[in-house]
Symmetry: C2
Subunit: 140 residues, 2 copies
């Protein structure tokens, strides 16, 4: 809870119920969240529009980032190591489990280096691996 307010303050955001609840969700969640997940878990205590705007604000401030997906959904994730510092480096691999459908930030798996052809300037690299996560594998 302390951490929660800290993050909001550091980013010069007003402390509101909506932002607290949504940020709390991210802090509790092991993986990434889609807009729909957030609406479910807040059981409609907030307007859809508020959720959209809150997510947008969080992305702008670098509190969360979005993860590329091949279906047309946006996944958002808070990445613990970096975001507390206020500036954001999203330099780890994301994993999507085909079974439980969760997206997990593999904080300790570094993004490998990619060598581009001549003339390309590289800014960011996103790596998304899909397969079966450790929980689903051992759980079965």
């Amino acid at each position: 809870m302390e951490q929660l307010l800290d993050i909001l303050k550091k980013n010069q955001l007003s402390i509101t119920d909506g932002r607290k609840k949504i940020l709390e969700l991210f802090l509790k969640s092991p993986g990434a969240l889609a807009h729909a997940d957030i609406e479910k878990n807040t059981d409609a205590s907030f307007d859809r529009v508020t959720v959209y705007r809150t997510l947008q604000t969080f992305v702008e401030k670098g509190i969360i980032h979005n993860i590329p997906t091949t279906d047309n959904s946006i996944l958002y994730a808070l990445c613990k190591d970096n975001c507390e510092a206020g500036h954001h480096h999203d330099n780890h691999v994301h994993f999507i489990c085909d079974m439980c459908d969760k997206t997990i930030c593999l904080e300790h798996v570094a993004i490998p280096e990619v060598k581009l052809p001549k003339g390309f300037k590289q800014k960011q690299t996103d790596v998304v691996v899909s397969g079966v996560c450790n929980e689903c594998k051992t759980g079965s």
Copy 2:
């Protein structure tokens, strides 16, 4: 044109105006296309539903594949090297240019290996690099 019919035949698809036109678009396009791009470039000569279904069919047959994006859109790309052979390997890096907004398949940049923590089973790896493409860099 020959190539076009070839691809459709190899995949046991009926030759229709819609499929010809959409596939032609992909063959001509240097980068990836979104559903909206296709609707624009066919100037509404086909119903929206037809476009949806055609894209879906092409993906199923492995003629095109979709590329992960961080906004909520699906990008489709035909990857020349593989798709003509009828079977599909999408094992290359995708590049999104921040300036011209195009998505390019870097056919000759292989997906690097990623080592996952214990317990994870890896099936597919997507790599999306963003930055400035060769055309935008030299063009400015």
